[in-house]
């Protein structure tokens, strides 16, 4: 059995009467790429946001590299609250809406957290930022303002901003859903490079093509629960549950409609 790198244990979250997460548990080993799929409102984004406590779960815990955040009643101890910033910085998060900072230029977007959180000097942070921005293909944009970037460039900037903190895990919440179709490719290719470098990733996505090619495991969620999980070719080709069958059929119909 592979060692448990990230352990998610019995996460629960309610929004009013709606169960966004129902006893969700998941173990992820280092270097694994997990794609989370499911209909909208199924809790997949909530799961991602609960893992780094952006949406604090009502109960449950997350264990990353042996460090535990969370408890049975959802309250964090004082030590855990102090750890929270470091804990979050260990996990890069990429949002559907990019959320790059418009008042800082491209380079400063990637430098800011390095200085404020990781307490690096500018002399260390700046070359690192330039290196990462080159890796995502934004070297010639370092003096630009985010408002002048295309969606795909903004998302690559957001990925670079996360990578600058040397995360051991990336959480990606529908990273390509807000992009024009022709811009999806450039973001996926950056993600592909991350997969090849062995980054552990949790991706909420509708890109089944990407999921089946690069995902080690696909997790299907519905109604706040994990319904099925397994290797992509098994999950996508021979779904066991009706819910997953229905979901895949719907996706197929939409993609057919798009083609005609």
């Amino acid at each position: 059995m592979k060692s448990k790198f990230l352990e998610i244990k019995e996460l629960n979250k309610k929004f009013g009467p709606i169960n966004a997460l129902k006893n969700v548990s998941l173990n992820i080993s280092k270097g694994e790429v997990i794609c989370i799929i499911g209909p909208s409102g199924c809790g997949k984004s909530t799961l991602l946001r609960a893992i780094n406590w952006l949406t604090p779960p009502d109960s449950g815990m997350v264990k990353l590299e042996g460090k535990i955040i969370g408890s049975e009643n959802g309250k964090l101890s004082i030590e855990q609250s102090k750890l929270l910033n470091d804990f979050r910085a260990r996990m890069g998060m990429v949002f559907q809406q990019f959320n790059v900072w418009p008042h800082l230029n491209v380079l400063e977007n990637v430098i800011k957290a390095q200085i404020v959180v990781a307490k690096r000097s500018r002399e260390v942070a700046e070359p690192k930022a330039i290196k990462i921005l080159s890796d995502v293909g934004l070297k010639d944009k370092i003096d630009e303002w985010p408002d002048n970037l295309s969606g795909g460039q903004k998302q690559r900037l957001a990925i670079a901003r996360s990578l600058a903190m040397d995360p051991v895990l990336m959480l990606l919440d529908e990273p390509t859903s807000a992009l024009d179709p022709e811009l999806v490719g450039e973001v996926l290719s950056v993600l592909r490079n991350l997969v090849n470098e062995g980054m552990t990733m949790l991706i909420v996505t509708h890109e089944l093509g990407f999921a089946s090619k690069f995902g080690d495991r696909i997790v299907f969620m519905d109604g706040g629960e994990i319904i099925e999980e397994g290797a992509p070719n098994i999950i996508l080709k021979s779904p066991k549950t009706d819910r997953l069958k229905l979901f895949l059929e719907k996706l197929d119909i939409t993609s057919l409609k798009e083609k005609h």
Partner: protein, 220 residues
């Protein structure tokens, strides 16, 4: 009585001295009010305390619902009752600050509302929290969008300082009164005062356009 412009020219050196005090009072009062309003804005957003929010709403509605002249007199006369003898200058600044802070708080509320929740989330996900989150990420964006109404509020403050002449702060208006009560030429003197006030406000509101343009150029 005919208009003799030489009285205006003779008054100008002293009027400018008064204008200098007016500027000082306005800048000091407004700076303090922005500081106070910023603290109020951060406190009410991050603490989410019902009692605090009630107190703030109470304060804002009282400031907005009463004449500033009454507020100035009240602070000037009420503080000595509690043993605080501040003098007209300090009392005046305090009154201006407390008055303007209510309006600036409302301005910043609007500016803050224009910052998407995702900006907070992105910062938190990178481990930026607490005061750094405000100072590095949220406040700069809040202030950039608030520049036009803030500059407008500053011109309001600048003009409101004329009321401080009534509690004997020797600013532009008070100086004018002193001059024309000695030479009996109020029209000539006040014409000079009028133009100086206008020029100060004009420069300030032009600076708004300049600041906005500069920040937009920086970002676009």
């Amino acid at each position: 009585m005919k208009f003799d412009i030489s009285y205006t020219f003779d008054a100008i050196p002293r009027l400018l001295e008064g204008a200098f005090i007016t500027m000082q009072v306005a800048i000091l009062g407004f700076t303090l009010s922005v500081l106070l309003a910023t603290i109020i804005t951060i406190a009410r957003t991050s603490l989410r305390s019902k009692i605090l929010n009630f107190i703030i709403a109470f304060y804002i509605s009282f400031i907005r619902g009463t004449p500033i002249l009454v507020q100035i007199f009240l602070i000037y006369y009420v503080l000595p009752v509690f043993g605080l003898n501040l003098g007209p200058f300090t009392a005046g600044i305090l009154a201006i600050t407390l008055n303007s802070a209510a309006f600036v708080t409302e301005i910043l509320r609007g500016g803050l509302a224009s910052v998407p929740v995702g900006q907070f989330e992105a910062a938190k996900s990178l481990g930026i929290s607490g005061f750094a989150l405000w100072r590095k990420i949220i406040l700069p964006q809040t202030f950039i969008t608030s520049i036009p109404p803030l500059v407008n509020e500053f011109t309001m403050v600048l003009k409101a300082t004329a009321l401080l002449s009534l509690i004997t702060v020797v600013e532009l208006m008070r100086v004018s009164q002193q001059i024309y009560s000695a030479n009996y030429h109020p029209v000539e003197v006040l014409s000079g005062t009028f133009i100086i006030y206008f020029l100060m406000c004009f420069v300030v509101s032009r600076s708004s356009a300049f600041l906005e343009k500069r920040l937009k150029v920086k970002r676009a």
